[in-house]
């Protein structure tokens, strides 16, 4: 029953949407009906799936790269107050710059291919990952830190047997924020300059006034985002069984 509720919600919204297009007689050019969107998808299923995979790959590889860079960065920030003071403000500044404004430059530097999109994804994903990892490690309870001190533990032990583990539930909070941003980052990159991907499909369909194709692409983006999010939630349950997080949710 619980699993059926989101599906029910989705069907209700699609039903209302359909009803609205009929009742208000909205032009398909402005708002296509769900049927138009499905038809659009069925006209080019292979092509659309291929574009979906491209966007998915950009988002996932950028996300993975953000973890690979972001977690060690957080370790450095927590490990050294000098590094923290040197780079934390920079990180905040980087995050404050609108990514849409950086995108054209990134495309100029890295070209129309996948690397500029992956970089865009890293730029939007890395901040939540660094912040959640660093704040999770810093919030390690004093009594646990004192336990490690009483065992004369090395810094390495304190970080890898204590702080990083303690941070895991919070890291997952950051990861869940990042994974939805990852898809957005990839699409921004594709908007600005690309020859493939769902963002590119949306730009092109806008140019040719094919609204229902744009809707189909957006629906596919939503599907990727939701799938990635729940994949992470599932991984969290498996990897962090002691966390309070999913006992509340």
């Amino acid at each position: 029953m619980r699993a059926a509720l989101p599906v029910l919600g989705l069907l209700a919204i699609i039903g209302l949407w359909w009803l609205a297009t009929i009742v208000f007689g909205i032009e398909p050019l402005l708002v296509p009906s769900p049927a138009d969107v499905v038809v659009s998808f069925l006209e080019l299923p292979g092509y659309l799936l291929e574009q979906t995979l491209i966007t998915l790959w950009e988002a996932v590889s950028g996300f993975a790269l953000s973890i690979v860079i972001g977690v060690p960065l957080a370790l450095l920030i927590v490990g050294s107050s000098v590094l923290e003071r040197m780079f934390y403000p920079l990180l905040v500044a980087l995050n404050a710059v609108p990514k849409v404004a950086i995108a054209p430059i990134v495309v100029v530097w890295f070209g129309f291919g996948i690397s500029s999109k992956v970089l865009m994804v890293v730029l939007v994903c890395i901040f939540p990952i660094v912040i959640s990892t660093a704040s999770g490690m810093k919030s390690t309870p004093g009594e646990l830190v004192e336990l490690f001190r009483s065992l004369d533990a090395t810094r390495t032990h304190e970080f890898f047997k204590l702080r990083l583990w303690h941070a895991l539930p919070q890291i997952f909070v950051g990861l869940k924020v990042s994974i939805t941003l990852a898809v957005i980052g990839a699409v921004i990159g594709e908007f600005v300059g690309a020859d493939a991907g769902l963002g590119y499909v949306i730009t092109v369909s806008g140019g040719s006034a094919d609204t229902s194709l744009a809707f189909a692409a957006m629906a596919l983006l939503a599907v990727i985002s939701v799938a990635l999010f729940y994949l992470l939630t599932w991984a969290e349950r498996k990897l962090v069984p002691w966390s309070e997080e999913h006992r509340v949710l």
Binding site: E143, L147, R149, W242
Partner: protein
């Protein structure tokens, strides 16, 4: 085993301990009792090497304490278990950090003795508070410490569990006597467990009196012979 001579400690302006002199024998169980804030935890931290004294010197097994050492274990007020580690892995933590090699057999043995056989694979949140504190006790024993420092370990537990755990600690000490410094604010626990009881007076913490408890073991809570000592301690604490 422990020699504390002329130890004073201040935190900034707060004078927490003043001129503490105390010897703890190799197999001696010393309880430290006093009002909260009189410096009991500070004294333990100093012996553990987690703090260094503002004045005076502390020797453990003949050498000055400069930092925490592997043959001294500390047990805290709260269980302080790592929530992501199983019971067994929690008990093994000191062995890992101190590099003592594979102590799994010993950990199983300790858990069995503590009545936790069959719980090795559980996570701490699946255990009651009393069981968690038992795990914490096993953990502080895994490194075969020569000195055990125990800070109000049962104060967060209900009365029945406290009694059980005090008796558990007595059993541990009878089976293999060590130098123990046991901080408590429970007179009954102190009388049950200790060879000597140090009464601290507050602000700054000074040794008010040392009471010998010369009663045969094992002792039991509620035993009439303990009452006399308890009464004496109650009087001492009131004047401390």
């Amino acid at each position: 085993m422990i020699t504390i001579s002329g130890v004073s400690h201040s935190f900034g302006g707060v004078h927490a301990l003043d001129g503490i002199d105390l010897e703890v024998g190799e197999h001696e169980f010393v309880a430290v009792i006093g009002r909260s804030g009189c410096g009991k935890s500070t004294l333990l931290r100093l012996v553990a090497g987690l703090l260094s004294p503002s004045a005076g010197e502390i020797l453990v097994a003949g050498s000055p304490v400069t930092r925490p050492r592997g043959d001294v274990s500390v047990m805290f007020q709260r269980p302080a278990l790592l929530p992501w580690r199983t019971v067994l892995a929690n008990v093994l933590l000191p062995a890992e950090v101190l590099g003592l090699g594979d102590q799994r057999d010993r950990a199983h043995e300790l858990l069995e003795l503590a009545g936790l056989g069959g719980f090795e694979k559980r996570l701490p949140h699946e255990l009651s508070g009393g069981m968690q504190q038992r795990v914490s006790l096993c953990r502080s024993l895994i490194q075969s410490p020569r000195v055990m420092l125990v800070d109000e370990p049962f104060s967060a537990l209900d009365a029945i569990t406290r009694t059980e755990l005090s008796e558990e600690l007595q059993r541990v000490q009878l089976a293999r006597p060590r130098a123990v410094v046991f901080v408590t604010h429970s007179i009954d626990e102190a009388v049950l467990l200790a060879d000597r009881i140090v009464v601290l007076s507050p602000r700054p913490g000074r040794i008010h009196r040392v009471v010998e408890v010369d009663l045969p073991r094992p002792r039991a809570l509620g035993q009439v012979e303990l009452d006399e000592v308890s009464r004496e301690l109650r009087g001492l604490l009131a004047t401390a």
